[in-house]
């Protein structure tokens, strides 16, 4: 896809109550992403671009912009390497319109 789309601009319109220091999603074993996962689909399927493919082959996750859809967990079929919970009550995305 040639069009570069800046998803941060989209996410900037949203309201969040970030639970600082308590991310609700984590990568169980980062070495599996780096060594065993060829496709790293989370890096292009996540609609909030929370997952980034790093130059050294690893995948990093920052959940602040998470839309809580669940896609990352569902697509990680081969390695089931995503530990996924809802944020603590009241935290995370707060849809104004939904």
């Amino acid at each position: 896809m040639s069009t570069v789309v800046n998803v941060e601009e989209k996410l900037f319109q949203n309201r969040y109550k970030v639970d600082h220091g308590r991310p609700h999603i984590s990568i169980k074993k980062p070495e599996i992403c780096a060594n065993d996962c060829q496709s790293q689909q989370c890096t292009y399927v996540c609609p909030a671009a929370c997952y980034k493919a790093e130059g050294n082959g690893s995948v990093t996750l920052i959940t602040d912009g998470c839309l809580e859809c669940g896609s990352c967990r569902v697509i990680c079929t081969e390695h089931t390497n995503v530990a996924w919970e809802y944020p603590r009550g009241g935290h995370g995305i707060l849809f104004k319109f939904g």
Partner: protein
Amino acid sequence: MAEKFDAIVVGAGPSGNAATYTLAKAGLKVLQIERGEYPGSKNVQGAILYSDALEKIIPDFRDDAPLERHIIEQRMWMLDERSFVGTHFRSDDYNKPPYNRYTIIRAQFDKWFSSKVREAGALLICETTVEQLLMDDNKVVGVRCDRMGGDVFADVVILADGVNSTLARKAGFHGELQPKNVALAVKEILFMPEEVIQARFNIGEEEGVVIEMMGSVTEGMVGTGFLYTNKDSLTIGVGCLLSDFKANPKKTTPYALLEKLKKHPSIAPLIEGGEMKEYCAHLIPEGGYNAVPQLFGDGWMIAGDSAGFVNAAHREGSNLAMTSGRLAAETVIAAKAAGKELNAKTLSAYKAALDGSFVMKDLKKYRHLPDVLETSPQFFTTYPELVTRAAQTLFTVDGVDKASKQREIMGSFKSARKLTGLVGDAFKLWRATR
């Protein structure tokens, strides 16, 4: 908090609100737990409200529910990169009250529905995530929350916690969602003056239009685009099967797909100048009949998206959610009145009620559709392109005689799908939708 309730409902979306309202109206002691700051703050939908399902719960909802526009025209577009062929169905019958369907804004609508739930006498607790179900042997006896000092107990727990269905999954009631059984949809809301919307869509005050799109906008993935008119905003979005997003060799992101849709020459003029105020994403359970999990057990039932109640072919979900929530509640009310224990045997009446309703009848009717579409991407790529090209060939006046044009069109269909392919596709679609 060792207080015991007749029922606990997890979630304040359409199914959870329908269930809680129905239980509270019947005088039962019911606790509803919502993880959002307010009901609606975690909920995403297109959104179309189908009146019938809500009328059966709150007959006079039109008096004060926040409704955007009633739909008088349904458009279905097949697109290629530069054009579209569309069918539009507009009827003045849809312009006579009581209206059949409306666009709504879920955060506002859910807040309203929740106010009715509380008026009916239910206790609602927000900003509280349920972490797990509490079991006594195989029976669900309550829930563990991330606040309120922990555990709450009830005779029955109704799981209306949405598509990810975290609680039933953790309890082992069903497995993980399959990527081929869920669509990932992203959308934006674009604000603009009412009069602009009315002029662009050829509608009057309070009248609305729905556009569903298939074709090049999904890059060969199984999915559709949509554009809905709200009062002073438009909702535009696109959704495709998660398995297709994952397998797409172009590795297109959902937001890039949405941007491409917004730039389509047939769409761009309709949304021009709209001020984007929110970007959402959501999974839609589209696995249909064959993906519906176990729906009840000792002390629990599952409703709405968590149970996979979406009729993808007709873009219906919230009405199935409300109906299933209501039927779950009615099952509890009837069992309580008869003095029965709320075990699997008693709660099987919920499944029977669903089977007798449009919820399971419709899912059953289209039970082959998910498999057919998943294995037949031609319906989402080849055909829309063939149709738009055929229209262009036929309608371009360029000195070529019409018989030759007709032969060219027939030839393009045959070379794309072969005669056997065309007949096979027709048969597949007939079988999947009959």
